[in-house]
């Protein structure tokens, strides 16, 4: 970078203006989160009267009290962990060996298999045939169905295959001399050398599982199987037009707004905890998946 002291007055002005604009965009990004947190800690009355702007008004934990006694909240929280951990392990179990095989030159029909996988990025059957297929497979309302049916996608396989291909052959030769087979070469040579790429894919899997909503809503009917996002959606929809709740909240210190906000805060917290650890990977990761044959 350039030295500040060498900057002309015009350049200094420009740099300061840019910093202010970036600062404003950052505040605009952050503000909704602060606002939601403030609403979640405010009294229902203050939130409805439009008094909450940046700090909690009539600070109270009533909204949190309302959700933590709801067993459904904890069930769906647990389910989200099951889907995230189970789904990510399932994905890696498919993707790592699959990508390794596809990266090997001696694999017969390699071009065909690559095309077979890449084609699904260009064309997919759409919502209805996918849904009917899940029904035919008896995977409706099944936790295992959710974990299995979204385990693989072409993009992640291609990303890892590209990374494997970029590893020089010489790395595995020593292992081959010792009589290692493909499983051993993959596990002892390729996996350790591909940590950044595997970390990136793990990150993509975790994020999409944690946030997964649409198919969980469509495929799962039982309340004891739904993930947090579906529960959150039910609650938001329910609170905004539930007469029973309206009666309830006149006597309580919480409202539909504060309860919604409290659930949002609860489901963001794990993301915020993990975020600093994953940040160093996704900047690299997004570029790994970039332009390459």
């Amino acid at each position: 970078m350039m030295n500040w002291n060498l900057y002309s007055r015009g350049d200094k002005f420009f740099a300061i203006m840019v910093s202010i604009m970036v600062g404003m965009f950052t505040v605009a990004t952050l503000y909704p989160f602060i606002y939601i947190a403030a609403v979640s800690f405010s009294s229902g009355f203050a939130a409805q009267a439009g008094k909450v702007v940046i700090t909690p008004i009539d600070a109270t934990l009533e909204a949190y009290g309302y959700i933590i006694v709801d067993p459904q909240f904890w069930i769906s929280y647990r389910n989200t962990f099951i889907y995230t951990i189970g789904g990510t392990i399932m994905s890696l179990a498919f993707i790592i060996p699959g990508a390794y095989a596809l990266s090997r030159r001696q694999l017969k029909g390699r071009r065909f298999f690559n095309l077979f996988i890449a084609f699904t990025m260009w064309f997919n059957a759409g919502l209805i045939p996918f849904f009917l297929n899940m029904r035919d497979l008896n995977l409706l309302d099944s936790m295992f169905g959710i974990i299995l049916a979204f385990a693989v996608n072409a993009f992640n396989i291609i990303l890892l295959r590209n990374f494997f291909e970029s590893i020089p052959q010489s790395f595995e030769e020593a292992a081959r001399m010792d009589g290692a087979n493909d499983f051993q070469v993959l596990w002892k040579v390729y996996v350790p050398l591909s940590k950044p790429a595997i970390a990136t894919i793990t990150l993509f899997c975790i994020v999409s599982r944690w946030n997964g909503f649409f198919w969980a809503m469509v495929l799962l009917q039982s309340e004891d199987k739904i993930p947090l996002q579906v529960f959150l959606r039910h609650t938001i929809a329910q609170l905004s037009d539930d007469d029973e709740f309206a009666i309830l909240q006149t006597e309580a210190a919480f409202s539909a707004e504060t309860v919604t906000a409290a659930i949002i805060v609860c489901s963001i917290i794990p993301v915020l905890i993990v975020y600093p650890f994953i940040q160093k990977y996704f900047e690299k990761g997004i570029l790994l998946g970039g332009v390459k044959e």
């Binding site: 350039m2 965009f25 993707i95 699904t120 297929n133 994020v207 938001i236 707004e257």
Partner: protein, 337 residues
């Protein structure tokens, strides 16, 4: 020449020759290095582990992605759950005729295009501008902190994003209406107003994705040759000029590729967020093809008609993606895949 009268170890030469010929013929039967069949067998014996590793993935693709493609034939059938995909009778293009005469579907199609166009016009330049601005920030700590924050919304689920939007735009107590109130503007129930849906939707998209989208452009900027800036400084150029004359032209290939990808994805409006934000009052501007398919197919059970709409959508998307890839190959000499 062979002397016919000589013998080999007491055996007449003719017999030896016959025997040798037979032996050769036998060997030719078992030892056939050039036929592809034995080579295949050898290959699979040696490399079976690779195929064992690949098999689960291939089977997964067949079961979860290719089998539904077979199921797409219901777009041309009078599908009933009891007869199943193969048992239902063919009816040709009837569903497509219904589809193209269905005002709601046509509306959903154009809404998809319009929302994508707005995304392209406003959403596409945002990460580029942001990346250019990040590049001008000298204070490393400030840069790192702001980047960390603006990447964050990308990792938040659309349910939460929708929850935030619903809370912030609420008619009473929502922050947007509070601010409007300061200027003496009456409260607006934004989410029931068709004219507000697209601005809110596209704005939300920019808020969520502009930061994360800037990573690609920042990487491109990092690859610009520093000597270009050095000679520009010698020539007395200021930062503003360098941004326009060096940085921007240098990252133009990346911009072009990202633009082509965006055009290829025009049919892919993030319908999850639409489902979470729209309501019957705003269908007029908010309903996109995938939300229409969701209502017709998964909610009303008209699977065959909805599958036809899905097939139409997929074909349009396929043509767009293929065109985009061809263009990218031409301009960047690398295809996207």
């Amino acid at each position: 020449m062979v002397d016919r009268n000589s013998d080999v170890g007491g055996i007449p030469i003719e017999e030896v020759v016959v025997e040798a010929k037979e032996a050769l013929r036998d060997r030719a039967k078992t030892y056939t290095p050039d036929t592809s069949w034995t080579r295949m067998v050898d290959h699979f014996k040696r490399e079976w582990q690779l195929y064992a590793m690949l098999a689960p993935t291939i089977i997964w693709f067949v079961v979860f992605l290719y089998k539904p493609m077979y199921g797409l034939q219901i777009a041309f059938k009078d599908y009933s759950i009891f007869r199943g995909v193969s048992g239902s009778p063919w009816i040709g293009f009837e569903h497509f005729e219904v589809l193209f005469n269905n005002d709601q579907f046509i509306r959903a199609f154009w809404n998809t295009i319009k929302i994508s166009a707005l995304n392209l016009i406003f959403g596409f330049p945002a990460p580029i501008i942001l990346a250019l601005m990040f590049n001008e920030i000298l204070n490393a700590r400030f840069k790192k902190t702001t980047q960390t924050i603006v990447y964050l919304p990308h990792f938040i689920s659309s349910v939460i994003i929708a929850g935030i939007v619903i809370t912030a735009f609420a008619p009473t107590g929502g922050i947007v209406n509070i601010i409007l109130g300061w200027f003496g503007i009456d409260s607006i129930y934004f989410l029931t107003r068709p004219e507000w849906f697209r601005p809110i939707f596209v704005g939300t998209g920019i808020w969520q994705e502009a930061g994360f989208g800037s990573i690609v452009f920042l990487a491109a900027i990092a690859g610009v040759n520093p000597s270009l800036y050095e000679s520009a400084v010698v020539d007395g150029a200021n930062r503003w000029q360098m941004m326009w004359k060096i940085t921007l032209p240098s990252i133009l290939p990346t911009i072009l590729i990202m633009l082509i990808i965006r055009i290829g994805n025009i049919m892919e409006v993030s319908f999850e967020l639409v489902i979470l934000l729209y309501q019957p009052a705003t269908y007029e501007t908010a309903d996109v093809v995938n939300t229409w398919i969701y209502r017709q197919g998964l909610q009303s059970g008209q699977y065959d008609l909805a599958a036809a709409a899905g097939l139409f959508n997929a074909l349009v998307a396929f043509v767009l993606v293929m065109t985009a890839n061809t263009l990218s190959r031409r301009y960047s000499r690398t295809s996207l895949w």
